[in-house]
Symmetry: D2
């Protein structure tokens, strides 16, 4: 079950960094949705290494192929298998990793768990695993948009100490895609890009925040106890490589507020129950209240740095290891489509659950 996410719109990802490829099986997609590779490829291109000067230069086209579940351009209601072949296999680039554990990677923990590991490029722990998520997420985004009128967006809001201003009610995908760091605040984006380039030059990396919003979610999605919308979003986000934190609405900022400050007053607006503030982040008691759903994800600086670091090897000797080859100074721009994908997967699952139980 470890590789499956979702209850009714359920995805199972598979594949390692090196080997036959990576992919995903989507089970539970409603029938009769128009679908082709063209609906999926653009988000894979946003996730792809080598797309700009500030991300990892690994060169793979990451071309998606639909192996099942679609007939004459429409979904059948049967499982949709999406596959991206691995092409950039350079196992020799990783030979030193065959015996040494990279610090703050998953090399040691996989070895401790399974007693063996695919040391080529991180194997299953490679960020290539997220290809399956992004492919399935593109499908989920399309369903949300066409059948439920819901729009999901994410963008970079902070890199190190550089903080952007984002108007969550109005921000557009065009604004987000207008620069390579995927931050809609143009002035700050320029500074972020310079900082990341500096980090690359220094062989170091830097962390930051991705913010997300879902607009158009009707009141009533979500479940009241364990499968609260924010709980499923939290799990979705913390399941991403390099994610260290998640908060929703006021988030960690709620700590220094009082109840009188924090409560969102209800008012009737346009014949609907609305709130005049949105510290709740669009979710109350685990269920959407019709306001924008807003959250943040904290990503750590990429663990691979171009400096000698203390580590140990499989024979339990102290040693050192220096990152070499391709270097990704900041994971954030490529994390944006992944965060969108996970958000969409959570929401479409709850949309179907709502249809199931409440008709």
């Amino acid at each position: 079950m470890a590789n499956t996410f979702g209850h009714l719109f359920r995805i199972t990802t598979w594949g390692e960094s090196h080997g036959g490829g990576v992919g995903v099986v989507v089970d539970g997609c409603p029938p009769r949705l128009a679908l082709s590779e063209d609906d999926i490829q653009p988000d894979l291109d946003r996730r792809r290494p080598g797309q700009s000067a500030i991300v990892t230069p690994r060169q793979e086209s990451d071309t998606v192929q639909i192996l099942s579940g679609v007939f004459e351009g429409r979904t059948l209601g049967t499982p949709i298998c999406l596959w991206v072949r691995n092409t950039d296999a350079r196992p020799e680039a990783y030979s030193e990793m065959a015996h040494k554990f990279r610090p703050s990677h998953a090399d040691y923990t996989y070895f401790a768990k399974y007693g063996l590991r695919n040391w080529q490029g991180g194997g299953r722990s490679s960020a290539r695993e997220t290809i399956g998520r992004v492919a399935a997420g593109a499908l989920a985004k399309k369903l949300l948009r066409e059948r439920f009128g819901v729009e999901v967006l994410a963008c970079v809001t902070q890199v190190h100490r550089l903080t952007a201003q984002v108007d969550w009610e109005k921000v557009t995908v065009q604004q987000i895609e207008s620069n390579i760091v995927r931050c809609p605040d143009a002035a700050v984006a320029a500074k972020m890009i310079r900082l990341i380039e500096k980090m690359r030059a220094a062989g170091d990396s830097v962390g930051g925040l991705v913010g997300g919003v879902a607009r158009g979610v009707p009141a009533g999605w979500g479940e009241p106890v364990f499968d609260k919308l924010e709980a499923d979003l939290a799990k979705a986000m913390l399941s991403l490589p390099a994610a260290k934190g998640f908060d929703v609405g006021s988030g960690f900022g709620c700590v220094t507020m009082t109840g009188r400050e924090h409560n969102d007053p209800f008012r009737v607006r346009g014949g609907k129950v609305r709130t005049t503030t949105n510290f709740s982040g669009g979710i109350q008691g685990g269920i959407s209240n019709g306001e924008d759903i807003r959250f943040r994800v904290a990503f750590k600086p990429v663990a691979t740095v171009m400096h000698e670091q203390a580590t140990v090897d499989e024979a339990l000797h102290n040693t050192t290891l220096k990152g070499r080859g391709r270097h990704d100074p900041c994971v954030l721009p490529r994390a944006v489509p992944i965060v969108e994908a996970m958000t969409a997967l959570v929401l479409v699952d709850h949309a179907l659950r709502q249809q199931a139980q409440c008709g």
Copy 2:
């Protein structure tokens, strides 16, 4: 599935604030564990309203009863049903809520989802639902302690702007339980208590942080992709009433660090692979690395305040509502056993999963 948590050690909670009671069914508990109500009651007493001057005064003894799954003092391997009868039913105290939605509560969203709601004391969205979690968590903590040598602890680390110092490697349950705010930093605890009392006097409430640690978790627990340890912890914590954020290890602090600062160097110590820092929070790639697992949960200020607030009623008219009766100025002290319970539930589930797959 919305009311079930866990895969192999699986709990299903049931019950509303008012009605026959609240409870939990635990499915998958290993056989032959010594178990009686005495193992469970102490944590329920820590969660109970009315236990001290700074928590909600609702008066219920919350006495747990084991209805099944235990025979001659030992678990049978069959489902364990734990039940706490409701005794403090005062529906008249809630009559105003029958038609008005309390701001930042779940009244409106339940109504939007289900088309009806139990307005007595919040019904299913009441914090009483956590009784089942705490009862099951007490069982999980015992299993972790006796069969796996793992200890789980939580404590209050921040109330509003008052921040405690906690030595996570050494803090004991005795230190945590030494004051009513459950903060092991005695000096800060005293200030926290005064602040909460002030809030009560003002009819207001205040938010804060609970920190958690699991000590003794061996390397290798957790799953690599969706069911990462930190992902399951994130879901567990964000499924708690009033929780707004979660982070692990360096958490949101990672944002302003570089990779060179953030990486945890490996060193061999005592014949084991250890790290010399713990920004990873004891988890790498979703799998425990043998270091302490550390995380934080942000709780918002309780939504019920003793002041008139703008809201709407079921007939979609603007109106106001003022909290009355029992007032809980700070949820944090009672959240401590709940956070421990959820942590234990996540860990014991992964312990069994590790046994299943890796023998």
Copy 3:
């Protein structure tokens, strides 16, 4: 998960023959269904021991109590906990079983699995466990009837070599309930009753068949691969104590047919696609085709007989054991409401799944 059945209408049963009681938690029941104990008790009375001269005389009223999930007479959409207290606890009647394994019961296998067992009345393996199923099934039958226009019926069709004629398109619950063996063929029913009484006098027991039908299921329920309607029904039925076989439509009779004989021709009737025969049993490719769903369940003779039988004890010595006390010569009449319950649980789950995926 072993004690949970269903995906979207999900039940978890708990409880042993002796102890605090037996019950069920129903998760996923749609909101706003009128529900009280009066909807559930009648089916429990049909399942109850002591209801007639031909079933086990254990004297318990099996009174159901709704502990949660219902408010002002309607379901809330939250988990419904149903509880029946145990009252007929006579552990002394079972003292010999404390050390000896009853042949063809689950005494030995539970002991082999768990290393201990509740030997009082079979513990968890007692047929009392089915109380939770019947209670949840009554709820499922009501949902099917009121929201989907589906009727579920079962009856006894064979006892030993006595075979009844049943007109599945027309048989009514009144006909089935018109005699204590629950066989609508009155002439054969009288013979069955005499045979069962003879078996009781002989201290022996007898097996037979229960047939089931679901009328009004629209075309399109079910899933194409693993969760085929007939697969879920097969699992449901083989999960019943004493069940040894299941077949659907032509069933085992298909073995001696050819394809030309067996195929159900399609014809348009009343503007709908219908079949002129129903060897398919209302299901094709795992999905309902709009015809009556028909199946059979084979039940073995009850294992407790009033004769000395060879067995072994926990210390691995050969010994003998003779059933004593209450004797149930034929499980079939009481199996009828249980088969109906399981059928309804399977169907309502698929009804909700169809709503989820296909809208």
Copy 4:
């Protein structure tokens, strides 16, 4: 979830008869099992059309490819994706099916459920879907054999009225594979083959029985309530195309037995608790008792016959349809490896569950 089977050893199949191929993702396979395509291909060859004179002549090599989860010849503990490319795509052979529903196939029910269908060769309802099951089952059989000492076998025991004698304690795979009908009773096998050839000549088809056995299962596998071993086997078998019935041990034969005849006496033999008869079929109360597990599956005659049959088309007009092209007069020989696969999948899942809960 409809396309996933198993809890801890979990398979998800995907693919249609025509399109990119068919496959399976296996999640939860323990690490460090030696595995290559050579372990899987032989069972696929046993399932393959065109392998002998009495099965469907569809010509595909069905060559399996491991896309993930294996590294340097051993399983990684990560998902194993197995893929068989479709090569025999002849959509024009199916053009008449594009608008007409084949009787007793799934054409109509898929259309009723999803509102569209892949009419080429049955799409998802094609027996090609079982390729994924057989591939995963080969892996499960290897695990059972090497790690648990369990052997799984199936064979044809009846075709129409021709019934074979099988010694279940001793039958070997060599005996089963010694003839093309996969019946170890050589004399009866010869008659079966002649009957099937006669059916082919007549353009008709014939049903029959497959029997299965699992030897070496220790006492204690299985779960006591819903996930009884026989319940999971029943679901597994009724999820197969053309399966109409399942029984275990005495099966439907129990109907005409009395309790005294049917009970399996316990005796100590070789220091173990054994039974002297095996009407229980190796399972008591849902849990294995250490004896051979034995069961039967009834398969209907293949629905495609070379004769004009009454049917309707998508526009709801009565019409006729005659099977043409390849004709499979008897599904049984090819069902043998599929029944083995499903049996192995059920058993390995319970083996892991037993490890998880009972250590």
